[in-house]
Amino acid sequence: MKTGIKILMVFVVLWVSLLLLEDLYDFGLKQNQNIKMASVKNSPPCTDLLVHGPCEPLWMISPALLDKQTGISSYNLALSHSDFADNYLHLYYYLKHNRAPTYLLLYVTPESLDKHYNTFNSYRFAPYLEDSLVNAVVKENDPDYFKYTWIPFMKYAYYNKRFNFDVLQGYKHYFSGRKNAYYPDGFEPPTKRAWGNHAGEFAELYQENTVFKPDSLREKYLVKTIRLAKENHISVYLYESPVLFEALAFQPNRAEMISRIKTIAAQEQVPFVQFEHLAMAKEKKYFVSTLNFNMEGLRLFNDTLSRFIRKNIVEQSQ
């Protein structure tokens, strides 16, 4: 057989194999209980209060601590490094497979509106691209990735470092019949570490005179997330947790960004609750980075937050 024909045949067999492999990955990822998109479908939490946002709520709000004091059930849907489009799709998928919660606590901060911080993690939605809404959001937020997804398996190959382990773990969960996530209430406790992020000091994270730049796509998906919740009769509360006081000096337009968030909140008729001025914000010992607490800070903040939820949200709605 001529070499040209053989090369062509390799590509045909490869195309078919990749289609099959794509199905195997789809299935494996949808069985992985440690992935929130899969977990909220396979084991619906169906709670009263949903906590949502990027890593700050993920690592700083413990449903177990809240539930004890508020008397209602809660689930932490937050995901590390996620932006509002990411949050929007997770909320959409949660609502698709769960009873709508009564309250949504959504983390918003000036960093959330600046695309320099956090991102849209397209890989999280790869097994769900057959859903037209997921498809459209991924296309809008990561066109570089989306344009190759028509090639078999490319939706996985593009970010394959994110998938191989998760697929294997998914099959392990499937064959062992596991129904619970490693973190069943969605909360991931902060790792034990001394003050410092990868860059060392917060001044490196916030260069002197860091000016936040609001991003229209972020604002658009913040509004869409609020509206999606309201369409499902959920009471939405935007909130900001304490920020290390020392860092504020490096952010000259933080107040301007806060007023921008307040304007959006007012337009959408949802409250924006700030915990920025708690006394703990001045104590570096509670933080691992400018926006994240350690376990000690977390307990203090969850206590304050629980009291706020009980008094201003639960009791008022009764």
Binding site: V10, Y159, N160, R162, N164, D166
Partner: protein
């Protein structure tokens, strides 16, 4: 147009198909047109510079042969050499042209303004010298000269190809089926090395080299060794793609690597590493200098080594780090020249293994200078390396986590997968190379390699080829 981009694959399939059916001289002009499109795709500055320097060198070469034309010859050399130095420092950042003394930017923020020109101008330097010494006649057809200079598979980072190596081949008839299979195998191997090995190692290396963390010496040394391996697979992967693509077009390019990780001395390492550049340096610097000072015997070779590595450092970049890198190799080679035992006796397997490991460590140490993003970063890494706490208290946090770029199970799984493929490739390197170079096309092996690229290769965050920066 980067080799690891879908645009290149589409472009190459089109060019390869047309090249297969066309006959010369049309085929030759197709390759010229394709080369200009390929270069112009990067940016028009590079294309403009290529046409300008080809025209300049073409005109100069026609006038350098006479005894009275030494000035023109040296002027031509000077302009091409200055261009190499200058182009290494022009970058584009935020839409602006910037001049940076730090020639290597391992971050992807600054884009290369002019791509491939340090290789390109070096070929012109060789061409001018050869014409001047009457080894070859000056080219009479400008379009042929332009094609030989700008031929796209070797344009970005070589293999550095001399005029006389390509000149006869551009008039050869269209390639045969056998070239397609052989070239295709080689390209697949190149993509595998780049996407599955080099690009998977890149984040591990970057997590140590790009941050000034207080890491123990063992982590720094491990990252330096990984960088040497990354550099090897990145550059040899690039060379495989270039050689394979060219083979499919019916033109043979010279080999660039000969299993350098198995070298048992630094001298042997340099016979096996980046051979086309070393061939250039030995032909045009080392041999002439050694010959000139031959009356000093061994010392002549020492002078030639020092000069060769000084020029090599300049070619890579003016900075302190490259000079230190070159100095390391000067010391290694001079030690071997004066003290080392280079007898041809064949050592046992264990001795070979120990020698290869030692050479890998020595070369990796020099690469700490090569890879460091600045002099300050380099000093920081060296201070960590020569610190008393070379071995850490907590291996998982201080060694494994930085190398795995995280401490999650998935990060460790990725690291294990990378090491698995790395070990297999290094162990069976010769066998794999034989498969990729054979004239027989083996569909099953090729299929498996492509499948591995899809499942384990880096697509979304792929790194540009390291030697594109020089």
């Amino acid at each position: 147009m980067a080799f690891c981009s879908p645009q290149f694959l589409i472009f190459f399939i089109l060019v390869c198909g047309l090249n297969f059916v066309l006959k010369n001289p049309v085929r030759k002009y197709l390759l010229l047109f394709a080369s200009l499109v390929f270069i112009g795709w990067f940016n028009l500055y590079t294309l403009g510079a290529v046409v300008f320097f080809s025209g300049f060198t073409f005109i100069i070469a026609a006038r350098v042969t006479g005894d009275k034309n030494a000035f023109i010859f040296y002027f031509g050399l000077l302009v091409n050499c200055l261009a190499i130095v200058l182009f290494n420092y022009l970058l584009a950042s935020d839409g602006l042209v910037i001049f940076s003394l730090n020639a290597v930017d391992f971050s992807v923020n600054a884009l290369l303004l002019l791509v491939g020109l340090s290789f390109y101008n070096l070929q012109h330097v060789a061409y001018l010298v050869d014409v001047r010494r009457k080894r070859i006649p000056p080219e009479k057809n400008f379009l042929d000269f332009l094609l030989i200079s700008a031929y796209f598979p070797k344009f970005i980072s070589g293999p550095l190809t001399l005029y006389q190596q390509l000149r006869p081949q551009i008039n050869w008839p269209a390639p045969q089926q056998i070239n397609l299979g052989q070239g295709f195998n080689r390209m697949v191997l190149g993509f595998f090395k780049k996407m599955v090995l080099a690009d998977r190692l890149a984040p591990s290396v970057a997590s140590v080299f790009d941050y000034n963390d207080e890491l123990p010496g063992i982590t720094v040394m491990s990252a330096a060794i990984l960088f040497t391996i990354q550099l090897y697979f990145d550059f040899s992967g690039y060379s495989d793609i270039a050689i394979g693509a060219s083979k499919m077009l019916g033109i043979d390019l010279p080999e660039n690597f000969d299993f350098p990780l198995r070298a048992r001395s630094v001298t042997e390492f340099w016979r096996k590493w980046h051979r086309s550049l070393i061939h250039f340096f030995t032909t045009y610097i080392f041999y002439p200098v050694s010959f000139r000072y031959r009356r000093y015997k061994k010392h002549a070779a020492a002078i030639a080594v020092i000069l060769t590595f000084f020029v090599s450092a300049l070619w890579h970049g003016i900075g302190f780090t490259f000079m230190m890198w070159a100095l390391c190799h000067m010391v290694y080679l001079l030690f071997e020249l004066y003290v080392g035992n280079t007898s041809g006796a064949s050592p046992g397997r264990l001795k070979r293994l120990v020698s290869a490991a030692l050479i890998l460590i020595l070369v990796s140490f020099s690469n700490i200078f090569f890879r460091s993003t600045s002099s300050a970063a380099c000093m920081h890494l060296l201070s960590r390396l020569f610190n008393f706490d070379f071995f850490p208290e907590n291996w998982a946090v201080e060694v494994l986590a930085p190398i795995a770029v995280g401490g999650h199970q998935a990060d460790l799984f990725n690291l294990v997968a990378t090491f698995f493929f790395l070990c297999l490739t290094v162990l069976f390197e010769r066998k794999i190379f034989e498969y990729a170079s054979t004239s027989r096309f083996r569909p099953v092996i090729t299929f498996l390699f492509i499948l591995l690229i899809f499942v384990f290769g880096v697509f979304g965050n792929s790194q540009r080829f390291i030697y594109m920066q020089f």
